[in-house]
Each structure stands twice: as C-alpha cells, then as structure tokens.
C-alpha cells in the first residue's frame, strides 16, 4: 500500500531524512526504532503532510497515488492516521464535535451521508469501550486538561473512530505507565484487520511485547540502517543503539 523511495527531507534547511526506503503491505505492522534525532518523527510528519517538513528528493506512493501531492486533509480522508507524539489541545471544542466533523468529512469523501446524531453517539460509545477510555471524555474539550496518558489513549480512540488504512503511531508509548501502555496496545490489536497496516514508532522494546511487529527497522541519521524480524527489537533492548552506530560507521569506513 505504501512505497517510500529514496526519501530526503529537511526542516528549516537542515537535512533530516537522507534517503529512506520502505515498503509496507496490507496487514503488516512495522516498527521503526532508533536513537533520538534520527528522523523518526520527521518521517511521520512527511507521511501525514506537515508543511514544516520540505521533501527535497524521492517519492512516496500510497495505493498507486503520489502521496506527496495530496493535502494533509486528503491524506486523512484517504485513510492515513497519525497518532501524535504530543497531541494538541483545542480549548472549547468538545470531542463530540471534533470527531463528528472528522468522521463526517471522511464519509463525505466516500460519498456517504453524514451519520445521524444517534448513530454517531452509538459509534462513540462502542469505540470508547473498545479502547477502554473514560466515558466522560466525549464532553470534554479536545485534549484540554487531559493527563499525558489520557491524551495518548485519546489518540487511539480517534484512530478507532476513523478506522484508518495506515496508522502511524509516533511514540504513542512514551510517558505511559504500564497499565496505560496495555490499554493503548490492546486498542491497536483490536483495531487491526488483515487489510490495514501500522507504523509504530518507538524508542523502547516494551511496547512491542504487546504489539507484535512483522518487521523492525532501525532509523539512524536519516536512513534505515537495519531491517529484520521482531527479534531485532530484543537485540536493541539488550545492546543499545551504540552497537548500530558502530556498525554504521564501520560500513562507511569500509
């Protein structure tokens, strides 16, 4: 569904991504790991269509379409979801109104009628149960006054509501206690279907105990330097990233 080819991108003139190649097929879970500053979040931003990041070279194809030419909202409507590392607060806008706007935009895009108020609320209830989120959430403003854990759970809830084809979770596990981590992971596992895919960006192996990836990539200095099965995550946990860094440097010298 997604093919990234030699992707290079910069932020404010600084080169961050230096030639990323990646292919994701329907039903796959890819984990992207790597030390701080390696370009993980930048990759997520490029895929979601954030203007701040300038693509300087390469291509991204999504279901045969040039993703880089699509606006952020069109990408969302075509089924790309980004779980934010730092979810944004929108004071005064209730979760109900926010999600209603989002869900109905997506339905409009598919040529469907907007959901009736009762159908919509029913959907909210079901999805809230699915991701074990506080039922009072609906009446609160988007992320306003939410704890760190609540914000992350709220991202998973929104993902459940929007049923994306490709969900990118940007460090959704950071700052979560073990219970919240389990809730987030369970949410992902319940939403998973044979035809949708996930990119899980994380620092730590522990999330991958709950969300079992098909492939693990290591992103370092703007490139994917290692790709292997789920056992790679365990190896990284054990040895740290220095091992990878050394390997990369040796390769360059050799």
């Amino acid at each position: 569904m997604l093919v990234i080819n030699n992707l290079k991108a910069s932020i404010e003139g600084k080169n961050i991504l230096k030639g990323v190649n990646l292919e994701i097929k329907p039903g796959e879970i890819h984990a992207i790991m790597g030390p701080n500053g390696s370009g993980k979040s930048t990759l997520a931003s490029v895929l979601a269509g954030r203007d701040l990041v300038k693509v300087t070279e390469g291509s991204v194809t999504y279901f045969g379409k040039n993703l880089l030419e699509m606006s952020a909202e069109d990408r969302a409507k075509e089924g790309i979801f980004l779980g934010f590392q730092y979810p944004i607060e929108i004071p005064g806008v209730s979760m109900v109104n926010f999600m209603k706007a989002a869900v109905n935009e997506q339905r409009k895009h598919k040529g469907l009628e907007p959901l009736s108020a009762s159908d919509f609320l029913k959907m909210m209830r079901e999805k809230k149960e699915l991701v074990e989120i506080d039922s009072k959430l609906a009446n609160r403003s988007v992320n306003e006054g939410f704890s760190g854990g609540e914000k992350k759970k709220n991202e998973i809830f929104q993902m459940a509501m929007l049923e994306p084809k490709l969900a990118i979770l940007d460090e959704t596990d950071s700052g979560l206690d073990i219970d919240a981590l389990r809730v987030v992971a369970n949410g992902v596992n319940k939403i998973k279907r044979p035809d949708n895919s996930f990119i899980v960006i994380t620092h730590y192996q522990r999330l991958l105990d709950y969300i079992v990836p098909d492939v693990v990539h290591v992103l370092y200095d703007g490139r994917i330097v290692k790709t292997a099965g789920k056992e790679l995550a365990l190896e990284l946990e054990e040895k740290g990233y220095d091992w990878i860094k050394k390997e990369v440097e040796n390769n360059i010298l050799a």
């Binding site: 701040l52 969302a76 806008v93 989002a102 935009e105 929007l162």
Partner: protein, 482 residues
C-alpha cells in the same frame, strides 16, 4: 500553512454582509442638522409632554459643552454632527391596530431579516419590538405579556401610556451628563423599547428588540429602559443590522436597566451592524452607553454580547452593584476583521457589601482589525468582601491585526478580592494541522477553533440565539463558508 491561513482569512473579506440591502419604504424625514429647533420638532412629532422636552433641551445644552472623548484606542474620523438626519420614520397614517396594517414592504424587510412581525409565525416564546430608523414599527405579544402585568412596548408609547414610570426611571442609571454620546442621545433619542416586569413575575418568554437602520444619512439614537421590580426575572435580547453604504452612519444608543431586590435581568446582544467594506469604507459607528443598576439586595445583572459588526465599536456595558450581595456579570465576544476597530469592555462598580462580579472577555482580531478590552473594576470603601474575577483573552488571526488590554482596578476596601487573568494567543499551526490530519479542512478548522474559543460566552446566550451567533461568527470570519 501560513499562506493558506492568510488566504482563507482574506477570503473573509469576500464574504458578503448578508443584511446589506436597502428597503424602499416611504420615509418621513426632517432636514439634516442639530439645534434646539430640531429637538423641538422631534419632541413635537412624538407629541411629548413638556418635562421630556425639557429633559432633551437640558441634555442638548450640556452636550454643547462637551468634546468627543479621545481616550479610547480608536481612530475615529471627524464627525460632522450637522450633517446627520436626526429623525427618519417609515411613513404611516395612524396607529397600527393589527399586523395587517403594517406596510407590506416593512413586513417584507423584517421577514428578510428573519424577524417575523406576525406572532404565530415567530419563534415560540420570543416577543419582539421592531425598530426601524427612529421609530418602533411593531411590538408582538403585547397582550399576552400584559396579562401578567408585564409592560413591553416602544419607548414612545411608554411615554404616553406610562409617563410616571418613565419619569421615575429615565436618566437614573445613565444621567444626561454621563458622557458625550449619552448627552447627545438624551437630546435626540427617538425610540427604543420600554420594559417593566412587575413584582414577583418571571417573564415567560424572551423579550427582544430588533434595530434596523434603513435610511441614508440618518443617525440612530434609540433608548431602552428596562425595569425589573422585586423578585422578578427577564431575559432580554437585542439584535441589529443596517444596509451597506459608503458613508459612515452614527448609532449612539443608551440602555438603562434597574433591578430591584432579588430580581434578575439577563441582557444579551448580538450586534451585527454593517462593518464597512473590506477596504474599510463605510460602516456604522457604534457608540453606546449601557449600564445596569443592581439597586436592591441580591439582585443580578448579566450582560452577554457578541459583537461582530460596526466599523467602530465604543461600548462598555456596566453594572453598578449597589444592593448588598448583588451580582454583575459580563460575557463578551468581540470580532474585528478588515479595518474594524473595537474598544469594548465593562465597568463593575462595587458599592454594596458582598457584591460579586465576573468578567469574561474574548477578543478576536483578523485582517487589520484592532481589538481592545477596556475594563474598570472599582471597589468602594463600604463594599466589604467584594469579589471580582476577570478573564480577558485575545485571539489573533493573521499578522496584521492587533489586540490590546486596558484593565483598571481601583480598590478602596481591604477585604476585597480581585483577580485578573489575561491571555493572548494565535491560532496555532499545530492546532490547524491536528484538524487537517483528522480530515478537517483549514477553513473548517479555523471555524471550529474560533467557536471553541468563544464557547464560554456563546453558552450564556439564550438557546435560540446561540446557534445564530455561532453562524454569525463563522460568517464574519470566513465569508466563503457562509
């Protein structure tokens, strides 16, 4: 993103002002200019008693000694007060007996504005006094209200039918010497609404006045007097619109509210006078004095205003908290777009003991709009345990607009607690991107964020009008959505 945002914001400007039409109604006018003669003519046209003419002349003579105030953060072009028509009225032959007697053109005008003058067609539970230019053309539900002893009629009728009440309260909250525009209004005011809620009566419907400026070169000087007797309650709403014209038109109104013991008045305004063109041509100068007196113990006044119109707004709905334990509230959303300017806020004067006031002001600036909050919280010597909370937020859209805050605190009693919070924010690119990423367009995202920002105030409006106001916010900021 920045570019998108600016483009969308500039699209606003192409958003048509929906109420800018002019109705071709036969109008009776007096010549331009202001003098004692003109005041006598107005008074005579309205067949007023001598005491009222005296009040007008006294006001006029005082006005002559005053200069236009210059302290507001506004750029006001010079106004030639001799170049204004002070009285214009849709021509009518005799007093209206039923809705069928109303000029069909007039009825059409108000229908077009969404204000039906026919009771059965109107929003259930809202009584309307419709004022065009200098006169009230129709007040609905008068009989229904009269059964409860509630008086709701035009100011002119009140002068004729309830002269004692008018005389007792007129000018007691806003004296004719109060300020330049109040003196002018006291001299030339033409019509407006009068409302009296008797002891112990809870008004069963919303009362509302709809003001329409129609004629060119005229000023509108209406006067509203609202009296809530002991243990009574009323919720009152005013709305206003005007045709699009290249010249500025002056609107200088007075609203006086008197609230007796244990009574409560909720006064809401949705102000949508013509704001001028995108280049800043034309528009209404809205110079208004609004003040309520919490006269009795435990009385309460709550002002809610949504200000989206007018080229210039100069307006400070205030509360004098005289009765012990009385409460004053001010909730405001003010939008300035294009070349609009607003200097608005409130005064809370704590006189009695245990008096409480709350101020929530939300300014929104876009285009080259300039938005100022100006507020005074004054706690007098005897106002023991007075309590105030003020919150002033400003939201900036784009980078050519301005937001300013001028809070004044004068506290003379040691036991008072006064709090002030202020924030200034821009709509964040990250907020817009967050919405985009959920499939919401930038335009809809701005509307969503602005409405969220104003929610606290919009929630204070009567239900029927909250939706209206929300739409209005979107139209004045985004135009292209409309």
């Amino acid at each position: 993103m920045e570019k998108d945002q600016n483009k969308i914001l500039s699209d606003v400007t192409s958003g048509e002002y929906k109420y800018g039409f002019y109705s071709d109604i036969e109008t009776e006018q007096i010549p331009k200019g202001l003098s004692e003669e003109v005041i006598k003519v107005i008074s005579k046209k309205k067949d007023e008693p001598d005491w009222l003419l005296e009040f007008r002349l006294k006001s006029y003579r005082h006005w002559l000694t005053l200069k236009m105030p210059a302290w507001a953060h506004l750029e006001i072009p010079p106004i030639n007060y001799q170049d204004i028509i002070y009285y214009a009225a849709p021509r009518k032959k005799e007093t209206l007996k039923s809705v069928d007697d109303i000029d069909p053109e007039l009825k059409k005008t108000f229908d077009k504005l969404g204000i039906s003058l026919e009771e059965q067609k109107h929003l259930a539970g809202v009584a309307v006094d419709a004022v065009m230019d200098s006169v009230s053309v129709k007040t609905t539900f008068r009989e229904t209200l009269a059964e409860l002893g509630i008086i709701f009629c035009s100011f002119s009728e009140a002068v004729k039918e309830y002269p004692e009440l008018v005389k007792r309260y007129l000018g007691t909250v806003v004296p004719y010497t109060d300020n330049f525009f109040a003196s002018l209004n006291s001299a030339v005011f033409s019509d407006g609404s009068f409302c009296y809620i008797p002891k112990g009566v809870r008004c069963p419907m919303e009362l509302s006045t709809y003001f329409r400026i129609n004629s060119a070169n005229t000023g509108q000087f209406e006067r509203t007097l609202l009296v809530a007797d002991e243990e009574s309650y009323v919720s009152y709403l005013e709305g206003c619109t005007a045709p699009m014209r290249d010249e500025n038109q002056l609107h200088a109104a007075i609203v006086e509210i008197v609230v007796e013991k244990n009574a409560e008045v909720k006064y809401s305004t949705v102000q949508n006078w013509y704001p001028g063109s995108r280049e800043g041509k034309g528009g209404i100068f809205n110079f208004v004095t609004k003040r309520g007196m919490c006269k009795g113990e435990n009385s309460k006044i709550s002002w809610t205003q949504v200000e989206t119109g007018s080229a210039i707004t100069w307006k400070y709905p205030s509360c004098v908290l005289r009765g012990d334990n009385s409460i004053g509230e001010f909730y405001s959303v003010a939008v300035t777009n294009n070349y609009q300017q607003a200097d608005t806020g409130t005064k809370m004067i704590h006189v009695g003991k245990n008096t409480k006031s709350t101020i929530v002001s939300k300014g929104i600036s876009a285009g080259r709009g300039q938005n100022s909050y100006r507020g005074l919280v004054k706690v007098l010597k005897n106002a023991a345990y007075a309590r105030n909370f003020s919150q002033c937020d400003s939201l900036l859209l784009g980078d050519r607009c301005g937001a300013h805050t001028f809070p004044y605190l004068e506290v003379e009693n040691q036991t008072a607690i006064v709090e002030h919070e202020a924030t200034t924010s821009k709509i964040g690119e990250d907020q817009i991107f967050y919405c985009n990423q959920r499939g919401i367009s930038t335009e809809d995202a701005i509307a969503l964020i602005v409405n969220g920002y104003a929610r606290e105030v919009l929630n204070k409006l009567p239900m029927e009008f909250a939706v209206e106001a929300q739409k209005l916010l979107q139209i004045s900021l985004e135009g292209s959505i409309g």
